[in-house]
């Protein structure tokens, strides 16, 4: 009679299967376990990537499947890289990326620094601060559209309270100068808690003994901050920047809901423009080339960033 669970499993395995498994090496068994993941990766990531690269050299249009597909070489890339409208969307994306990362890192680190201090209601405040991150981007977009309303929006009233300007005299999402900032503010409101959580993890990983040793050496709080806190939180901060950088490069839903890319094309980010080319104008080959350009950019940036992160970790 089998006693242990192992023996029970061995007994339950059909004799034919058991014989076959007994003949496999450890390496073969390892491959059997890893193969489904590799297959999934190839099917979901690698194959679509290769297919997109192939399509980027053609004039294929997915809404005209019966039309002959022509090989156009580098023409799609030439058109994209000579198009001043796409250049403008790149600049809009750069503005959005730069300011969201700067604001989220500064505010997120500041909040983490405050939350890391022991005070009454610490957990409650953490929950309140983290709340925006749990919402759907579409909900946040809708919510901020109401906040930015010139007549009834709370945002304009808060600004008027501090500046004395008439609340109805400006429109955050209707003004070409203010609209890029409206998406920066909404994204910062939503994703600063994420950066805060990563920074908090970094701050809590610093052993108290290091600060105690610094106190013994009579290091000032300012010096402790610059020589202990910042260097030890830096890998976490860099991870936060990497995550937010890649996510914001792909930002779509929040901005579509908030401004729809307008007024004009002033808040049209690359992902919004790409979606329009691919699924409104149905230029599949052209949009594939566009996607390849964005992919190479993000991949290149992520490569140097991971290298920098590893260097910081080695220190």
């Amino acid at each position: 009679m089998p006693n242990s669970p192992m023996e029970k499993v061995a007994k339950a395995t059909p004799e034919k299967v058991a014989k076959r498994i007994r003949g496999l090496s450890d390496r073969a068994i390892a491959w059997i376990f890893v193969a489904p993941s590799i297959f999934l990766l190839l099917a979901v990531n690698i194959f679509p990537l290769i297919w997109t690269i192939r399509l980027s050299f053609t004039n294929f249009r997915v809404n005209r499947p019966n039309k002959d597909v022509e090989w156009v070489g580098l023409r799609n890339y030439e058109r994209i890289l000579g198009d001043s409208d796409i250049w403008m969307t790149m600049q809009a994306t750069a503005h959005f990326l730069l300011w969201t990362i700067v604001l989220q890192v500064l505010i997120g680190f500041f909040l983490a620094f405050l939350i890391n201090k022991k005070f009454r209601g610490n957990d409650m405040w953490t929950t309140i601060i983290v709340f925006p991150m749990m919402l759907s981007p579409a909900v946040v977009g809708n919510f901020w559209t109401f906040l930015y309303q010139p007549q009834i929006g709370l945002f304009n009233y808060v600004v008027s309270f501090f500046t004395g300007a008439d609340p109805a005299s400006f429109s955050m999402i209707g003004d070409v100068h203010l609209a890029p900032w409206s998406i920066v503010i909404a994204d910062t409101w939503m994703w600063t808690p994420f950066v805060m959580l990563i920074c908090l993890a970094g701050l809590r990983s610093i052993p108290d003994s290091i600060y105690e040793a610094a106190e013994c050496d009579r290091a000032s709080k300012w010096r402790q901050f610059w020589t202990i806190t910042i260097p030890m939180v830096l890998p976490f901060l860099m991870l936060a920047i990497l995550f937010r950088g890649i996510e914001n490069f792909k930002m779509f839903d929040l901005v579509v809901q908030l401004t729809g890319g307008g007024p004009g094309n002033i808040t049209t980010l690359t992902s919004i423009d790409l979606k329009r080319e691919a699924f409104e104008k149905w230029k599949t080959g052209y949009s594939s080339a566009y996607a390849v350009i964005l992919f190479v950019t993000v991949f290149g940036l992520a490569s140097i960033y991971v290298k920098a992160l590893n260097k910081v970790k080695e220190r």
Binding site: Y77, L81, G82, S84, W87, M90, Q91, T93, A94, I293, V296, T297, F299, G300, L301, S303, I304, K307
Partner: protein
């Protein structure tokens, strides 16, 4: 500086990764800068060369 050049000539990973990283950063800057359209036009090829170089040189000895 001389170590950097020696590393380049001796096909060491560090200096070549540095060159690749500079090319990628330059390419991304060219892609998103608001100053000249021609810089934008040549941004992709710069980033692509940098990225491919980065992948290749990451297999060189340290």
């Amino acid at each position: 500086m001389s170590n950097f050049v020696k590393g380049l000539v001796g096909f060491r990973r560090g200096p070549w990764e540095m060159v690749a990283s500079i090319l990628i950063a330059l390419g991304v800057f060219m892609l998103m800068q608001p100053f000249a359209l021609w810089l934008y036009t040549y941004s992709f090829i710069t980033t692509l060369i940098g990225t491919v170089m980065f992948i290749l040189v990451s297999h060189l000895p340290k």
